[in-house]
């Protein structure tokens, strides 16, 4: 297990939680994103995720470094699964430990927002009567995607 990884097999939360736990950690937050059956009244059959794997792992590690900079003392592990996933499967896990709880919550939420901004992973929703690659068709800023 790598602390920042793209995986093709089911995500087991335990090993990421164990990775971030240490004697100085008073709080651990674990976020898991799951495949949901209904989105905007449309029934999802399954999702297919694709990634630019080496860059995605670099960007996950970058997010981890940003978190450690912004919330000193946090320890982070993030994994995203790719391939076909069905209802309730875990697509992404973010595990954060911290001496105190506030940072564990804030840093965790920061991570999922950043993943949705900069990590090259794409989700295709497959319904009974169609499919679509998701991702806002917004124009990227000229100064680059990295800026907040």
């Amino acid at each position: 297990m790598k602390p920042f990884e793209i995986v093709e097999t089911p995500i087991e939360p335990g090993k990421y939680t164990e990775y971030v736990l240490h004697a100085g950690a008073g709080a651990v937050t674990v976020f898991t994103g799951h495949v949901r059956e209904w989105t905007h009244g449309i029934r999802t059959l399954y999702l297919a995720y694709e990634a630019y794997v080496p860059m995605a792992e670099k960007k996950l590690a970058q997010i981890g470094a940003e978190m450690e900079g912004q919330w000193p003392g946090v320890k982070v592990a993030i994994a995203h699964r790719i391939g076909e996933m069905h209802i309730s499967d875990i697509a992404v896990i973010i595990a954060v430990s911290s001496p105190h709880r506030k940072a564990a919550y804030e840093a965790n939420e920061y991570a999922i927002e950043r993943i949705k901004e900069i990590v090259p992973i794409w989700k295709k929703e497959v319904w009974e009567d169609g499919e679509e690659w998701l991702g806002g068709q917004k124009k990227y800023p000229e100064k680059g995607i990295e800026q907040k």
């Binding site: 994103g33 995720y49 694709e50 990634a51 630019y52 080496p54 860059m55 995605a56 670099k58 995203h80 697509a91 992404v92 999922i112 993943i115 949705k116 901004e117 900069i118 990590v119 090259p120 992973i121 794409w122 989700k123 295709k124 690659w133 998701l134 991702g135 806002g136 068709q137 917004k138 124009k139 990227y140 000229e142 100064k143 680059g144 995607i145 990295e146």
Partner: protein, 77 residues
């Protein structure tokens, strides 16, 4: 020779995962214009380019030997 990769919607649009372009150097802007011309509907205004696994700006220059990836709007999480 510049290597380019396609993902998600762009992989399906172009019908390929990657290819090489016989160029010594070009800007990111030129690469996006080449893609739009070659693959109508590419949507260059919504696509980012990564050069050697880092997001690049439109003015950045790509050299022969670089690995580029077209990054349509991401939707992980």
């Amino acid at each position: 020779m510049i290597k380019v990769s396609y993902f998600a919607r762009l992989r399906e649009l172009t019908g390929k995962s990657d290819e090489t372009i016989e160029q010594q150097s070009m800007t990111v802007r030129e690469l996006l214009e080449w893609a739009e011309t070659t693959y109508p509907g590419f949507g260059k205004d919504t696509v980012h380019v990564a050069v050697n696994e880092e997001y690049a700006l439109k003015e950045d220059v790509i050299q022969s030997g670089d690995s580029c990836a077209f990054i349509p709007p991401v939707s992980g999480g």
